[in-house]
């Protein structure tokens, strides 16, 4: 009787652990194999819309993941000379725009010229959205709609795409979309996209 129960407990434990492992794998962001290591350094991080989320991505990429990307929240085209990867952190912030002395329209012009410069020099573009629903207002949506179709990959942290806005844009433009459960996971995705030197 005791033996029978022991076997049952063992079976349940193994099943539970296997289930948890499967759940963990399922929870991780799925990166298309073709994208792994397909973005080259040197990289440059800037915002599209002056969101302070760009500072979080900078710290994540450089302090935590040691990618060594350059950073300027309001970078101009001349700053990205020679780069191979441009990371655009998406989100409009009135406070950020005010601090940079820019209107949303002016910042969108800056971003358009950055993207044009990146394309001209053969650099690839990663768009990242880490701000969740807080960075999904009308102004942010304008920024997202501008940048996503022109990107080579899009990383979105959970909460930012609950309405399928990113999914729709990416499907229409044929841009791969990677959804991450957290900012930290978005960082891991970013690292996996960048070729190790």
């Amino acid at each position: 009787m005791v033996r029978k129960h022991r076997s049952l407990v063992r079976f349940l434990s193994v099943t539970l652990m296997a289930g948890l492992a499967v759940l963990q794998v399922m929870a991780q962001a799925v990166v298309p194999p073709a994208l792994l290591g397909s973005f080259l350094p040197p990289g440059y991080i800037t915002s599209a819309g002056q969101t302070s989320d760009a500072a979080i991505v900078k710290v994540l990429a450089n302090t935590k993941l040691k990618l060594g990307f350059s950073y300027d929240i309001a970078a101009k085209p001349q700053a990205i000379a020679g780069i191979k990867t441009l990371v655009l952190v998406l989100g409009a912030s009135n406070k950020g725009l005010g601090a940079a002395g820019l209107s949303l329209e002016q910042d969108m012009e800056r971003v358009k010229s950055l993207i044009a410069e990146a394309k001209k020099q053969g650099a690839k573009i990663i768009a990242m959205h880490t701000g969740g629903t807080a960075r999904r207002g009308e102004a942010s949506n304008h920024v997202i709609a501008l940048c996503v179709p022109l990107s080579d990959a899009v990383i979105v942290v959970e909460g930012g795409n609950t309405d399928g806005f990113f999914t729709g844009l990416c499907e229409k433009a044929g841009v791969p979309l990677i959804e991450a459960a957290s900012i930290a996971e978005a960082g891991s995705v970013l690292k996996s996209l960048v070729a190790q030197q």
Binding site: A55, T63, G98
Partner: protein, 350 residues
């Protein structure tokens, strides 16, 4: 013999009355004395007027609790009660005074930094006092107001408040908002003199990291946010990432370039301190005036846990990159997970 004894007793009584009637008021005597029971870490209790003498005896003077490890390290300053209705900040500061013990560096805490604001309550829709149950019985904390008491301020509010450094003119009552008047003025209004005293403390004590603990209405953009002076934005960004891994989602904003008078802006600009402001969502600050303690979505314990976790995450980020002689470490620090699970009462002294 008996008559002589009674005369002596009467004489002593009259002497006591005379001393109390004619003596200078003790610092802060015009205010209420909040129930703060310092823990083993606290090595000195001072009054803020020690850093700016003219504040002595005014309703703005307030107690300063210092926990000095005796080992060189960073000096950390924590202020609760800038807005005395933002109760999670006050109780987080009290929990630190009662339970934190630094092993390296120094902790300076003012739980009721705008003492005048804590003496009154602005609305009848919010409690005047809140009760916190501890394993040894209940304790009571004042639920105060956002602004300095207009009677204490000693001058009528202007039509519009204009910060001396410029920026947009604000509603007149903002002249009594401590977090609009930094760095203050030595000969200004009571609120401006209070701000000046805080700046004096930050400079004199060479504070390295400074926190101002706040709350906002749950619907406010500010709820669950860390605001950082631009010079220390990266530290806050690192903390936001760490907090998210712990299941705490905080937004991040740098101080505005044009909005002057805020603690994170002026503390960071005018002193060497890395300055942060932490905001949690207080239901009583919503338009519906919810319950500030027992709200199901935003219970007080959870908000205090967020404050403590944010402070811890920022200090961890600081320690990652600071010189060896500028570390801050603790042998005891209120565990935010436990605060969230069992309430702050378990972290208050009997």
């Amino acid at each position: 013999m008996r008559r002589r004894f009674i005369r002596a007793l009467l004489g002593f009584f009259l002497w006591c009355v005379a001393v109390l009637a004619f003596a200078d008021p003790a610092p802060g005597v015009a205010t209420i004395l909040h129930d703060v029971r310092p823990g083993r870490g606290v090595t000195r209790v001072a009054w803020l007027s020690e850093w700016f003498t003219p504040l002595a005896g005014t309703p703005a003077d307030t107690r300063v609790f210092i926990a000095d490890s005796g080992t060189p390290g960073a000096t950390v300053f924590i202020a609760g009660g800038t807005h005395a209705n933002e109760i999670a900040g006050i109780l987080s500061a009290v929990a630190l005074i009662e339970k934190a013990i630094p092993s390296t560096g120094r902790l300076i805490v003012i739980p009721d930094i705008n003492m005048s604001a804590s003496t009154w309550t602005e609305s009848t829709k919010v409690p005047s006092w809140i009760r916190i149950d501890t394993p040894n019985g209940p304790r009571f904390f004042k639920y105060g107001a956002r602004y300095t008491d207009p009677v204490h301020q000693g001058e009528p509010d202007p039509d519009r408040y204009q910060h001396p450094k410029g920026g947009e003119a604000l509603e007149g009552a903002e002249a009594r908002n401590l977090n609009r008047v930094y760095p203050g003025m030595p000969d200004g209004s009571l609120t401006e003199r209070l701000a000046w005293a805080v700046m004096s403390l930050l400079k004199t004590e060479a504070v390295d990291i400074a926190f101002d603990l706040h709350e906002a209405g749950p619907e406010s953009r500010l709820a669950n946010m860390i605001v950082a002076n631009p010079k220390n934005l990266d530290l806050a960004a690192l903390a936001v990432i760490s907090l998210e891994m712990e299941g705490i989602r905080m937004k991040l904003e740098p101080s505005s370039e044009v909005f002057h008078g805020l603690s994170h802006r002026e503390w960071g600009d005018e002193t060497k301190a890395s300055a942060f402001l932490i905001e949690t969502p207080n239901p009583a600050q919503s338009t519906e005036k919810g319950n500030p303690i027992e709200d199901l979505q935003y219970p007080l314990a959870g908000r205090i846990a967020t404050h403590l976790a944010s402070i811890e995450a920022i200090l961890d980020a600081w320690n990652m990159d600071c010189p060896p002689d500028k570390r801050i470490a603790f042998t005891a620090f209120p565990d935010w997970r436990m605060v969230e699970a069992v309430g702050v009462g378990a972290f208050l002294n009997w």
